[in-house]
Symmetry: C2
């Protein structure tokens, strides 16, 4: 066993957190956030140590350093801000602090009335060493301290232990020796704010026509933008807009035979007219698409495209690159299957192809094609059926050039697979939210994904419905269920989305009992939507999105906390802003039929509210105001009126004129 490089590195640095899989993967933040880092650090013996957090943008060389503070039990904590897009790197270092040890011991010796003449000389030597390295006024000051120490009178001696300017000078100039640096450099991926806080609206462009029966176009989508903006959404996500395959095309309600008028399923991508880089003729042209991106941007909306890496039998890839697919012994290309089910309209790509580098390069170029047309947000279809190494490489490559990219992973599969995709680089992820109905399930699941290590890399995006998911709760719960799921999605998760207009119009008919597929699903046919319907949830959605924009508390998930409430049908949780000034409390009735009431318990002490102090609960949905006292208060929610409160807590403030008001 060889000697280590420097066996005098006496400080140990262990258990740095956050650290994902031994630093294999980065954690995630958005610009302007901070990264709080903790580590175990200690030395042999009884010397004091100094522990520092080092960080830098990954493409810079010089480290910045901030001191870490002791939390007790050899745990240390520090934090640093991330102020630009891209990756940052951080690590922890520490060294024995001889000056602090000396200072601490000198104080004890003086208190015990010991002769400290020799001890003071030890300190003076350290000050001397610091003075030699110091420049300007610091050098002068250190030489002066050194002389005072050598004079060794009781007054100055006390100052040697207590004076903070001396300590600061020594921190600055006494070279820490034998510094231990943690063995790994850890990464943070810094995204833009919308990676964390986003409101998505999904719609089928072909159903956007203003009159019935006509195939909608991208121009119709442009006309639809003010409607989307009126509800406060900032991401408009379109299912695939590419040419749709003809071979084995599915008919209405997923029928295996299509007739002449059937428009097919947008996810059966590719036809003679083109593949993933083309626009379906009926929707318009690339120029129309460019116009849509521009018009949306003017309203603060970004267009998100769907990336579904699979091909219809008519996709140009099939002829150009048959080696990117599996071939069956009879010479045909292997279609998608979930035996005994066959999906003959879909050819999956073969990620075990000998030409996997060619395949990867082409797939990446699909992203690049649309990025260059202004698309910076993608919803990726079934990423869990493509090889994991591809995603890590592809996302890594793309974000090197475009760190502003946002990729939403549509993987409704086993938890570890979903988490792996998030680690590999997906910015946001679909979740099981749609299937979590009761209090226990919601509390457990939402806690799991908003706390601890998972929350460091997995950013949930909650969807009450999608074109594939019409839950039993929405099928049977009526309007209260739609409102409840909207409020839950929009307040529990800082990113959420709905699939409309079926959501705002309360579509709830399944294709058959027990199915989560819509009857007459837009996946297989064109619909015409009457946006002026009196029963539309549009105004409520607009209000919920305005509440999200006005309340920073709802723009993060990290502070989400569930609160006790003595009725299983009621759910209560709160969120607060980083600085604690904005506090939102949400109460939801989980019962679609009946009024439910109970007492909720809030930890008002944590909010700085005394037991005797009244505070105002301002319901931002109804503008009603309630005066609460103490931690335990009554709530009552009638689903036939409104199944949720979104309270903003207002504390009483006494003004100069002694007129009470609530901030």
């Amino acid at each position: 066993m060889p000697f280590p490089e420097d066996g005098r590195q006496r400080v140990v640095i262990e258990r740095v957190s956050p650290e994902i899989d031994a630093g294999r993967f980065p954690i995630k933040r958005t610009v302007g956030e901070t990264v709080a880092v903790e580590a175990d650090a200690f030395a042999d013996g009884h010397d004091e140590i100094v522990v520092r957090l080092r960080y830098r943008p990954a493409d810079e060389v010089a480290w910045s350093e901030v001191p870490m503070e002791s939390l007790g039990n050899d745990r240390w904590r520090g934090q640093f801000p991330v102020q630009q897009l891209g990756d940052y790197v951080y690590t922890v270092c520490g060294a024995v602090d001889h000056f602090r040890s000396w200072r601490r011991d000198l104080r004890k010796r003086l208190d015990a009335g010991q002769d400290v003449r020799v001890d003071v000389q030890i300190g003076a030597r350290m000050m001397q060493a610091a003075a030699v390295r110091a420049t300007g006024e610091d050098a002068v000051a250190l030489r002066a301290w050194c002389e005072r120490a050598q004079r060794a009178e009781p007054g100055p001696l006390t100052a040697l232990c207590d004076d903070e300017t001396l300590l600061a000078l020594m921190d600055r100039w006494l070279l820490a020796q034998h510094t231990t640096t943690y063995e790994r450099e850890l990464r943070v991926t810094v995204d833009r704010e919308r990676a964390r806080f986003s409101s998505w609206y999904e719609m089928f462009p072909r159903s956007a026509a203003t009159e019935p029966l006509r195939h909608g176009t991208l121009q119709d989508v442009i006309a639809r933008l003010p409607y989307v903006a009126s509800m406060g959404f900032d991401v408009l996500y379109l299912p695939p807009i590419h040419p749709i395959g003809v071979g084995f095309r599915k008919g209405r309600n997923n029928s295996v035979t299509a007739d002449q008028e059937d428009v097919g399923c947008p996810w059966a991508i590719g036809a003679r007219a083109g593949g993933h880089k083309s626009v379906l003729d009926e929707l318009g042209t690339l120029a129309d698409f460019d116009a849509l991106v521009t018009a949306a941007a003017a309203l603060g909306i970004e267009i998100a495209l769907d990336i579904a890496f699979q091909c219809s039998p008519d996709h140009p890839y099939v002829e150009q690159h048959p080696d990117w697919f599996r071939t069956r012994p009879d010479g045909t290309i292997q279609y998608a299957e979930n035996p005994p089910k066959k999906y003959q309209d879909i050819y999956p790509l073969n990620f075990e192809s000998a030409d996997w580098t060619g395949l990867w390069t082409e797939l990446k170029s699909v992203f690049e094609f649309w990025i260059e047309r202004g698309v910076k947000i993608f919803r990726v279809d079934n990423p869990h059926t493509k090889a994991f190494p591809f995603w890590e490489w592809c996302i890594g490559e793309l974000k090197q050039t475009w760190p502003e990219l946002i990729l939403l992973s549509e993987a409704f599969t086993r938890p570890k697979v979903m988490f792996r995709l998030a680690k590999l680089g997906f910015t946001q992820s679909y979740t099981y939210f749609a299937w979590r109905h009761n209090r226990w399930d919601l509390t457990e699941y939402v806690s799991e994904i908003t706390r601890g290590e998972i929350a460091e890399y997995f950013r949930p995006n909650f969807w009450p419905n999608t074109p594939d998911i019409l839950t039993e709760e929405l099928q049977s719960g009526g309007r209260p269920a739609f409102i409840r799921r909207l409020v839950l999605a929009a307040t529990m998760s800082s990113s959420y989305g709905i699939y409309g207009p079926p959501f705002e119009h309360g579509w709830c008919a399944p294709v058959r009992p027990g199915s989560e597929e819509y009857l007459n699903s837009e996946k297989y046919e064109i619909h015409h939507h009457d946006l002026a319907r009196a029963d539309s949830l549009q105004p409520l959605i607009a209000k919920v999105n305005r509440i999200r924009r006005d309340n920073p508390a709802l723009q993060f998930n990290r502070t989400l906390t569930f609160h006790p409430i003595d009725n299983e049908q009621l759910l209560c949780f709160s969120k607060h802003s980083e600085d604690g000034t904005n506090v939102v409390v949400v109460v939801v009735n989980l019962d679609s039929q009946y009024k439910q009431a109970g007492f909720v318990e809030l930890p008002i002490g944590d909010l700085g509210i005394a037991d005797y102090e009244p505070y105002q609960m301002h319901d931002l949905l109804t503008d009603a105001r309630y005066m609460w006292y103490g931690s335990r208060n009554y709530v009552e929610l009638d689903p036939q009126k409104l199944p949720a409160h979104i309270f903003h807590i207002r504390r009483r403030v006494r003004s100069e004129s002694d007129r009470e008001y609530f901030q």
Copy 2:
């Protein structure tokens, strides 16, 4: 971002456990144990995967492999035996299993009555590929299967999905492609059995004389060996046997002035006569020491030496290597301090010495000196006041030559420091056991160090007393406290020790109230012990150690489980052997004064005992037998009689002659 070497490695391996600090440190086992390894493993899509555990002795090149089994939720488990001393290495690998995927899907297709002619050809191709690689009978068999597949009749087709011999052939010969190997190789340090299961006895050789006043010798220790053996101990640990310093020598009861007759403290190591490689004249010679090692071995006892790396002012190092110590500005050498306390009889070594490599080399040679004289067990004094990198290097070096070494870390300090030393290579560790008295404290602490990750590298050694530790519980609890602490130490921890004869003679007087130091401590003076005392705990200790030897359950800690009991003054726990055949249940009365009774609840279902089935609780301490029924049974312990049960559970077995007996 470059392409990975093989982007077709579709299987992910994550969260392998056990893994200490990302593989930075090994886990620990003893020869003959197994290592159970778990990992998350999954692939994209729906293919089956195969996951294998790889392992090898660290100094061999070829891996052995065992299949891992799915535990559900993408978790896999496998295990391997460690059969020789030294380090082993393990890791996990996995690949998509196309044959298993094909077999599973073929079954579904057959069940659905589909035309599978093309699918069968896909399987036949795989069998063909396997046949080409196979040799001998396997090749013949695979070719036969291939032909059967190509004939494609319903009967054989079913066999293709179900036949386990075919599956085994394919497992053996179909080359797994694009195998993912976990990114780290993890280590196991394999020690001999005594590293895990050991019974220590500590005594001062100078108090071993058979008559009062005379300074005991190593020859006296030889004469004392039958006594130690009679109690069943297998490690005899001696405080330092080296020349003792004269400068600033401590007198009786740690007095700062010593008179002419004072023998000094054995931990003030070094005098003109020699240092860490010499024997104190009064104790005898190196030849006597060799004789002691040999005589002990004949009784199944190993001699453990104390390694205390510190020096008296008279140690030869002080003159030969003044640079290994800190020098004060007045030219004197820095003595040990805990300001304002001064320990002028001790010079600590300076691990920041410029000649640290020289210092390390010399310290290692101290171990080597005694190892070459037959010592394979060391108790290391205050390892936490020496630089951590030294221990890792020193223990690593030593164990490369002598993997049978056992080092006990005497670090009574903060938990993370104690755990770090265990990670760095110490075989066993002192613990806080001595200060854990009540049920909650014992349960929490013992659970912490016998379960989970900590138990993978930290092996506790429980001591009711040491020359430095006479706990308040022993001072005030009388004989019941001594018995209780003996039983707890010997049954909770597979390694334990006592400091005698003060332990078996019930020494309980502190040097002053509130102190844990003994009055007239053997650390500073010679004692004469009357081993024939009628009140000696010797017979009980002998019985406890015999119980430990007879019951494999007590030779491991991994199965330790606490059981509910409705009296806070009673503690109940069980241990069982790896194979489950030996089960020991311990019940202890934690109250030194009063009889305590309560109902204990045992999970008898886990032991294979039905609710209606009687079972016998055989108290191995008293030989009493109790018949218990069901999970809830009464216990009663009178501290004035015996404050503990050590039960062996005997189940009823029906013999051929229908005469009941209990196994």
